[in-house]
């Protein structure tokens, strides 16, 4: 085990995957000499060469489209979208092409590829460097969507995503990159896609979350236990598609209280799917209505510190307060 932050875990895993298999190639903006704007591919061009670490022109649809072609002809491309906010020109390539290649050919062709995209806010990124995009893509059958929140999960999920025979959208919350540290196994331990993880055990309520919000939920849970004796169980979704409904339902049936916390705009966000799943399948195990906390339904996160803070925390300690209210319902 070695302690690393999240971005270092991604860098090191990607490095090891490239070193282990020359089918793995990297394509994206500034991934070469610059080593990526977040230094995820720092040093890669010198070590693996320009053929494998491809500085792409400024064209997101082209990056994803070319990666699809590579995947169709025996490579294992990892496409980097510099910021998730810029992925939308590639939406059609992901929706109409990558996700449907296997289905529309009756299993004849497949698209083994990873699209990495740094997402999320709270980093003074404003409208176009802060977005949560997971719901758009988790809605598409044929694409897997993961968002690890710890360095170990990032390493394990990236390892699994590169080996996956289908397209995986690998979302990395920028606020977690250097803030979140943790032990990472020195030998890769694959983390299965489609498996949630109970990050904190508890008996009084279940909090389902992912990304940076997961850490705020863990923080609130720790304080509630210490100060008020409330034991919250915190489930890390990790994989938005496919969603591990069983782990969520087992926890909810145990605690009888459920809350979903996500950073994306509240309406039609991933939390809606999770809340609906709980309502459909565990309604009679619940002692309280499901609580859903999402970002405000404004176009995106504003830049000014006070405005951005409102997006992330509209009321002081709003997650902790909601957890306490639910526990006492």
């Amino acid at each position: 085990m070695t302690e690393k932050n999240l971005v270092t875990a991604i860098h090191d895993t990607l490095h090891d995957e490239m070193a282990a298999d020359d089918r793995v190639v990297l394509i994206g903006q500034d991934v070469g000499a610059r080593g990526g704007v977040f230094k995820v591919s720092e040093g890669f061009m010198a070590e693996f060469g320009e053929q494998r670490v491809i500085d792409a022109p400024l064209a997101e649809s082209g990056i994803v489209g070319v990666a699809i072609g590579m995947a169709l002809h025996g490579l294992l491309p990892v496409a980097e979208i510099e910021f998730a906010d810029f992925i939308h020109p590639a939406f059609d390539q992901i929706l109409s092409e990558a996700s449907r290649m296997r289905y529309r050919t009756n299993g004849d062709w497949g698209c083994p590829m990873v699209i990495r995209a740094p997402c999320g806010g709270g980093i003074h990124g404003a409208l176009y460097h802060s977005q949560s995009i997971e719901a758009f893509y988790a809605h598409i059958p044929g694409v897997k969507v993961v968002m690890p929140s710890t360095p170990a999960d990032a390493a394990g999920l990236l390892h699994t995503a590169i080996a996956d025979p289908d397209p995986v959208l690998f979302l990395e919350h920028k606020k977690c990159y250097r803030l979140i540290k943790g032990d990472v196994p020195d030998v890769p331990q694959p983390t299965p896609i489609g498996q949630a993880d109970v990050k904190r055990e508890g008996t009084d309520l279940t909090v389902v979350s992912y990304g940076y919000e997961l850490h705020r939920c863990l923080d609130a849970a720790a304080r509630l236990e210490q100060d008020e004796g409330i034991h919250a169980e915190v489930v890390d979704v990790r994989s938005l598609a496919p969603l591990d409904t069983e782990t969520i339902l087992v926890s909810v049936r145990k605690t009888a209280r459920a809350m979903v916390v996500y950073e994306d705009n509240r309406t039609y966000g991933a939390g809606a799917e999770i809340a609906a799943t709980i309502a459909e399948r565990a309604m009679f195990d619940l002692d309280a209505p499901i609580v859903r906390i999402g970002g405000p339904d404004i176009p995106a996160m504003p830049f000014a510190g006070a405005l951005e803070h409102y997006y992330m925390e509209p009321e002081p300690d709003h997650i902790l307060v909601a957890m306490r209210d639910l526990a006492h319902f």
Binding site: V25, M70, L72, H73, S96, R104, W109
Partner: protein, 337 residues
């Protein structure tokens, strides 16, 4: 860098008599499949047909230098002639038209004419336009990376060149001098929109200059001229000299699809006049005038192909439909049976 290519003499092209007759037969097969498919549509047996008539010269001409088993085909939905050269059989075409379980392109999942066959090296494409162009660049990148001898060819209409994906694909392919040939089948209309409202230039090929690659305009109704310009582009790609953009000027004799009414956007006089430049009749005249075959032999070929098409229709129609229980398969690899 665009240049007119008009020479048609087959002798200088390395094509023998067998090649010429096979090319003619393939063009005729595409035409007779097309006409039969529309009849099936009018009979209520085929909900959707994408006609090819008029494009046979540019399709068979540009497809012929490709090497099945080595090169990769990235066609669009009008490319019946291309996939016949790639090795798809008339029966397989009709299995797709009737959306049967054994349809090789998709098992009846896609609309007809959305070609695919991994075994034949035909890459699946969708209905959104030009999305396959970056795929062609990516496949060519993988070929170059793996030091393969292969060439990728991608076909599309002139309307496709307005899409962002078209530009992004050509740009990346040109930057890396990838072994890929881009072929525009310019039939003057994107459904109803004429070329004059699609672009401000006379020739798609002139756009090649913007990518630093050669571009050629060729008479798309002259199958040998199309063969020649493609053969040279194919040779350049194999020699590591990068992509070529070929523009075949042609015409679509029939509506865009079986659901289109082309009377609303082009006159009958125009269509009738363009039928006088039929690429199949033009090639037949070349073959007869050159003493390569005669009219009686061509009629025999016509009858043989017609019989083949009719038996393909019967076999395909009698094939089983997809089992509804299979509709949820192949979303992910783990769903594959």
């Amino acid at each position: 860098m665009s240049a007119q290519v008009t020479e048609t003499a087959h002798g200088s092209l390395g094509l023998g008599v067998d090649d010429l007759l096979a090319m003619h037969r393939t063009m005729l097969t595409a035409r007779l499949i097309d006409e039969a498919a529309l009849r099936q549509n009018r009979m209520g047996r085929a909900p959707f047909v994408v006609p090819v008539s008029g494009h046979e010269g540019c399709q068979i001409g540009t497809a012929w230098p490709m090497r099945p088993g080595i090169d990769i085909w990235v066609p669009y939905y009008r490319d019946l002639g291309v996939v016949l050269v790639a090795g798809m059989t008339p029966e397989q075409i009709f299995l797709g038209l009737f959306s049967k379980a054994s349809d090789p392109t998709s098992g009846g999942r896609q609309m007809p004419s959305h070609w695919s066959s991994r075994g034949l090296g035909i890459v699946s494409h969708s209905s959104p336009i030009s999305t396959q162009v970056p795929h062609a660049a990516g496949i060519a990148y993988a070929m170059k990376y793996r030091n393969e001898d292969g060439v990728v060819a991608s076909w599309f209409g002139e309307g496709a060149t307005s899409e962002g994906d078209w530009h992004e694909g050509l740009n990346i392919a040109s930057i890396h001098r990838l072994p890929v040939v881009f072929i525009c089948e310019n039939n003057e209309y994107a459904i109803s929109v004429p070329q004059s409202k699609q672009m401000a230039v006379a020739d798609v090929a002139s756009r090649a200059e913007g990518y630093g690659i050669p571009g050629f305009v060729v008479d798309g109704n002259d199958v040998l001229a199309c063969f020649r310009v493609m053969k040279e582009a194919h040779d350049r790609a194999r020699a590591g000299e990068g992509p070529t953009l070929i523009e075949c000027k042609t015409y679509r004799f029939l509506p865009h699809t079986s659901d289109d009414d082309d009377k609303s956007y082009r006159s009958r006089e125009e269509v009738e006049e363009r039928r006088h430049h039929d690429p199949i009749e033009r090639f037949a005249t070349y073959l007869v005038d050159g003493g390569i075959t005669d009219r009686a032999a061509l009629q025999t070929v016509h009858d043989e192909v017609k019989t083949q098409v009719e038996s393909a229709i019967k076999a395909a129609w009698d094939a089983p439909d997809p089992d509804p229980a299979t509709a949820t398969r192949h979303v992910f690899a783990e769903d594959d049976p």
